[in-house]
């Protein structure tokens, strides 16, 4: 209980620090949301028109007062209104979150599941065909730009082959390609992580003993290495999970998915302060949650870490 309380206190302090940092950095950005909005709306930049928006958005108050007011409202569930759309930010996030979560978590889930057999097969025969395939996928995920691959997939599957209707088909049809694309960018690296975790165990004395008892490498890996390798695998999944919320901007833009990341990109251009601050806080809370979940999972897999 004391342990949990300490973790909660640490997380709260960290989130508070993030809120100050995010507020300061975002307000230091070299552009004025009031001027951007006036130009976008074709409204003359007069002192009166500027003053109207500044007052409406609370930007005429001292920074410390702005921060205090924003934090108080944010914690109370009032995230303010978007400068750009004039809509409540919390409801915008809640509407968009299912899209981002589906393609982010869905893609990562597919990758996390497929990476296990891929990494296992690669570890069974290092230097074999599957090992090379997992390496190619890993390198491909690093070097192929997401927007390029996304457009190529659209062109091939939707334009040339007409196999899919990614924009006006059903929800599953619309989210299939972006989900698979997100999965593609994780499967190779996760497969390599799992392979390496397994291979690290093959040099252990207990594993050699298992082989000496006549077990095949596949059986020995399955019986004696899998659980140990999963420990490292879960640790590697944690940072992958971190970017799932809000890290899929390119995929959302290319496939016209109305998710959080797309909202973020449009808000950056408009210097939509409240949206940007809310986004940073959402990502920070998400990372804290994932970190906590990772600690629990690792404790379940390895009793030594429970203390």
């Amino acid at each position: 209980m004391v342990h949990l309380s300490r973790h909660v206190l640490q997380a709260s302090l960290m989130l508070w620090g993030v809120s100050i940092f995010a507020f300061a950095i975002i307000h230091a950005m070299p552009a004025d949301p009031v001027l951007i909005t006036l130009v976008e709306m074709n409204i003359p930049v007069t002192p009166e028109n500027e003053a109207v928006l500044r007052t409406e958005w609370g930007l005429d108050r001292p920074l410390i007062e702005q921060y205090g007011a924003w934090l108080w409202r944010f914690v109370g569930g009032d995230w303010g209104r978007s400068f750009r759309t004039d809509l409540p930010i919390l409801s915008e996030f809640l509407q968009r979150l299912p899209y981002s979560a589906t393609i982010g978590l869905g893609g990562l889930g597919i990758a996390a599941i497929l990476a296990l057999p891929l990494g296992f097969a690669a570890a069974c025969r290092p230097g074999g065909t599957v090992d090379y395939l997992s390496r190619a996928l890993s390198i491909g995920g690093q070097v192929i730009p997401a927007f390029w691959l996304g457009l190529v997939l659209l062109w091939l599957l939707a334009v040339e082959l007409r196999l899919i209707r990614p924009f006006f088909g059903g929800a599953a049809e619309q989210l299939l390609l972006p989900t698979l694309l997100v999965g593609f960018y994780s499967i190779g690296s996760l497969g390599r992580v799992f392979r390496n975790e397994l291979l690290a165990i093959t040099v252990q004395p207990f594993f050699r003993t298992a082989l000496a008892k006549g077990l095949t490498p596949e059986t020995a890996l399955r019986r004696h290495a899998l659980r140990h390798a999963l420990f490292g695998y879960v640790a590697a999944l944690t940072p992958e999970c971190a970017w799932v919320v809000g890290g899929t901007a390119i995929v959302e833009i290319v496939f016209a998915v109305p998710g959080i990341s797309l909202f973020l990109v449009e808000s950056i251009a408009a210097r939509d302060y409240f949206v940007l601050q809310a986004y940073v806080m959402v990502v920070a809370v998400w990372m804290v949650l994932i970190h906590g979940l990772s600690l629990i999972l690792r404790a379940l897999l390895d009793p030594r870490t429970r203390r």
Binding site: P30, T46, D86, L154, A158, P166, A171, A256, V265
Partner: protein, 496 residues
């Protein structure tokens, strides 16, 4: 008896169901892709009024027609009482999409509500009050003087609607059937608008990336793709199953010349810059557009007809006469000072970035050195005045009348006067525009104002861009016009 009554009611209900849904069931549905979509249905919020008008959902009392003329829409006429007061006579027989009549009370409520809630609606007239004089007459009072009320009523924020709690009812040819999921809308014809049965249903979707928009058209998923990227045009035009239509818009590309900079204080240098720019090359660089004749797109009745001249020899002569002699590296000098200028553009308008090297090359040919820079926030740069030349794109006649641009961008002391232009002669001409509502007289005054501008050159008008719309074969009869204001219109028909 009870059974017979039940059967009769059931039969009647079945007949009613078939008669009421019969047209809808047969009605085709078209898919429309745009780079923007209304974020809500409340015109009191942000730019919702404009977005809903582009969707064919909302309308104004006045609008701008295909020829660029201000024409009555829900209104019949406007009578000016004094500088701050005018009366609007409404057209009779117009209805909201729920069937209720568009009357003076509803119009007054809509205008006052938007004016109170939406700061953008107070930009021209300040605070506004409105009251119904009779069923079809509204009297409107404004905080600021409004010389041309019809233009005010055509502004994008001034749409007419009924607010009933969280529900909003509009008057346009379409009504919103469903919002979402995501950034999408389903529209159906407004049954209380003329020729409703001839219009298709619409599924509307936002595309943030123009390349994706183009691919969606090529995939056969879109019937209208509004805002195709220039680089995809040749590929799409080669297809048999789609049609591309390009049209001139009310936006203008221009270059502000900072009259307070030491090198540009001399009008001769500004005139040289203006003469050295070949607008046809600029059009070629961005694959379309028309060399500018002045501040307005040439389809407006008050636009000038002659393209701005390209005369590099004249430009050189002007610079020579002003004392700028060719230096050893081809850049002109005077008293040891090089004729070197900084030209800004902003990434939100990619065409302007394309212009930068082309203009640099043109000005180099007459001996002017140009350093190109990009800024994220052109408005802040304009306000600071820390530039020599700044490329700009704007809709110069958003409500179909010529004084808006001249007043907002070139009058001394106004917010957009990035050139820091000061001219009593120009101010006097523009002032006279506020005293007349006669279109011919206003066009003449706009021409007079241009004559002063061409002499002083605080701004160089460059190009009227073309926008491109991709259409499926069954929408090939659609003709785009009106920039991004009137995209889904009453005349939308499926032709095949």
């Amino acid at each position: 008896m009870t059974r017979r009554l039940f059967l009769a009611v059931a039969l009647l209900a079945t007949v009613c169901m078939f008669t009421s849904t019969g047209h809808t069931a047969d009605r085709p549905t078209i898919n429309v892709g745009k780079t923007f979509i209304a974020s809500s249905l409340d015109p009191g919020e942000g730019s919702v009024g404009w977005a809903l008008t582009t969707h064919g959902v909302s309308e104004n009392l006045y609008s701008v027609d295909r020829q660029g003329k201000l024409v009555p829409n829900l209104a019949q006429s406007v009578t000016t009482v004094d500088d701050h007061t005018f009366r609007v006579d409404l057209a009779s027989g117009r209805r909201f999409s729920d069937g209720s009549p568009v009357n003076a009370k509803a119009v007054a409520n809509a205008l006052v509500r938007t004016n109170e809630l939406n700061g953008r609606a107070r930009a021209t007239a300040g605070k506004m009050t409105a009251k119904a004089i009779d069923d079809l007459t509204v009297e409107i009072k404004t905080e600021k003087a409004v010389p041309l009320p019809t233009a005010l009523l055509a502004e994008w924020a001034m749409v007419i609607y009924k607010a009933e709690g969280d529900e909003f009812v509009f008057t346009g040819p379409y009504r919103v059937k469903k919002v979402g999921p995501g950034e999408a809308m389903t529209l159906e014809p407004n049954r209380h608008y003329a020729d409703a049965d001839e219009r298709p249903n619409i599924r509307l979707r936002k595309f943030s990336d123009p390349q994706t928009l183009a691919l969606a058209l090529e995939a056969g998923e879109l019937d209208i793709a509004f805002g195709l990227p220039v680089e995809a045009l040749s590929r799409i035009k080669a297809r048999d199953d789609v049609v591309v239509k390009s049209f001139q818009v009310a936006y203008q590309y221009m270059m502000f010349i900072n009259t307070e900079r030491p090198l540009l204080g001399d009008p001769a240098v500004r005139r040289a810059v203006d003469r050295a720019v070949d607008r046809r090359q600029l059009a070629h660089a961005v694959n379309g557009g028309t060399p500018a004749t002045g501040a307005y797109s040439s389809y407006f009745p008050f636009a000038l007809r002659e393209p701005r001249p390209f005369d590099p020899d004249m430009a050189k002569a002007l610079l020579e006469k002003a004392g700028w002699k060719n230096g050893s590296d081809g850049v002109r000098e005077r008293g040891g000072q090089r004729l070197s200028l900084v030209l800004y553009a902003y990434p939100q308008r990619p065409d302007l970035l394309t212009f930068q090297p082309v203009i640099k090359s043109m000005l180099a040919k007459v001996g002017i050195d140009v350093e190109t820079r990009v800024t994220e926030n052109i408005a802040a740069l304009g306000k600071s005045g820390d530039f020599d030349l700044a490329l700009w794109a704007t809709n110069t006649a958003p409500s179909g009348e010529p004084s808006y641009f001249l007043n907002a961008f070139l009058r001394q002391g106004t917010g957009y006067n990035h050139s820091r232009y000061k001219s009593e002669r120009f101010g006097a001409v523009v002032d006279r525009m506020t005293t007349t509502g006669d279109p011919a007289e206003r066009a003449k005054l706009a021409s007079d104002a241009h004559a002063v501008l061409f002499e002083d050159v605080p701004v160089s008008f460059l190009l009227t861009p073309d926008w491109h719309v991709g259409l499926s074969k069954r929408l090939s009869g659609y003709e785009p016009w009106g920039s991004d204001y009137y995209i889904i219109r009453p005349d939308l028909r499926v032709t095949e």
